[in-house]
Symmetry: C2
Subunit: 153 residues, 2 copies
């Protein structure tokens, strides 16, 4: 791939954006906004924002995960996570249980309703992903993920 290239500097509107598109950061930001739009559309029916979906998925695969672990993994401030977790619990999707080893910590667990919701939500997230990357082949999609991980890991 990586063959066809814009030779000129002036796109759609007669506005020169070539200086901008030369930056990886600009392209990542635009792509992030585009795929987030798809996510919001597909996930609206489940009333889950990206961060809430992420938290539920992490709890699903890591029963008993603590708020502190979520914070360090997702780069969220613990003070900002409180409200999110509280809201998920109010919706009956997750519960906090005393941590068996650390009296300060609370382990997060999915309720049956939370398990059901995240299963449906994963379907919606996969659909959003598919829509956002519809112009990519499977190989390109996999390559994109690899390159992105080289950036943020």
């Amino acid at each position: 791939m990586a063959t066809r290239r814009k030779a000129m500097a002036v796109p759609d509107d007669g506005i020169d954006t070539s200086g901008l598109e030369a930056f990886v950061g600009y392209n990542i930001r635009r792509a992030s906004l585009a795929i987030t739009d798809h996510f919001l559309n597909e996930m609206a029916v489940h009333a889950l924002r990206p961060v809430e979906f992420t938290i539920l998925l992490l709890i699903k695969h890591n029963a008993g995960i603590t708020s502190a672990q979520l914070c360090s993994l997702l780069n969220i401030q613990s003070s900002n996570l409180v409200g999110l977790v509280k809201d998920l619990e109010r919706r009956g999707l997750s519960v906090r249980q005393p941590h068996p080893l650390d009296g300060r910590a609370l382990g997060l667990h999915l309720t049956p309703a939370g398990s059901r919701l995240i299963r449906e939500a994963q379907r919606a997230a996969r659909q959003a992903d598919a829509l956002a990357t519809a112009r990519l082949t499977d190989v390109q999609r996999s390559t994109l993920v690899d390159l992105l991980q080289l950036v943020y890991r």
Copy 2:
């Protein structure tokens, strides 16, 4: 590329993030945060946020561009752009001049100080880009940009 892959599901912290990393959206979001961090670090000395840098660069390459054009190009609400442009003007970086053809519109132009600043800022942005993509080859970097543009165009 796209060869080495994690075979197991448990990374660094003993937390299983494989379900998350399967989503392109998650990877784009994480990469975006990472490269934005580099940008903020490198651009702090110039006191330019990403959107302000973007606006100045677009004015540089499109003298006389209007607020409405910036809004549609950057997906910004016009009401939110007002403060940004006003602030750039207060800092002596850009000026608004009556549009020659449309009495409603105001064309944006860089001042000499704005031209000088954006030149230095571009240097900083290139440095941020280089740091964020230090683990990529030039070919990989170009491939990444191509794939991202397939997502958001």
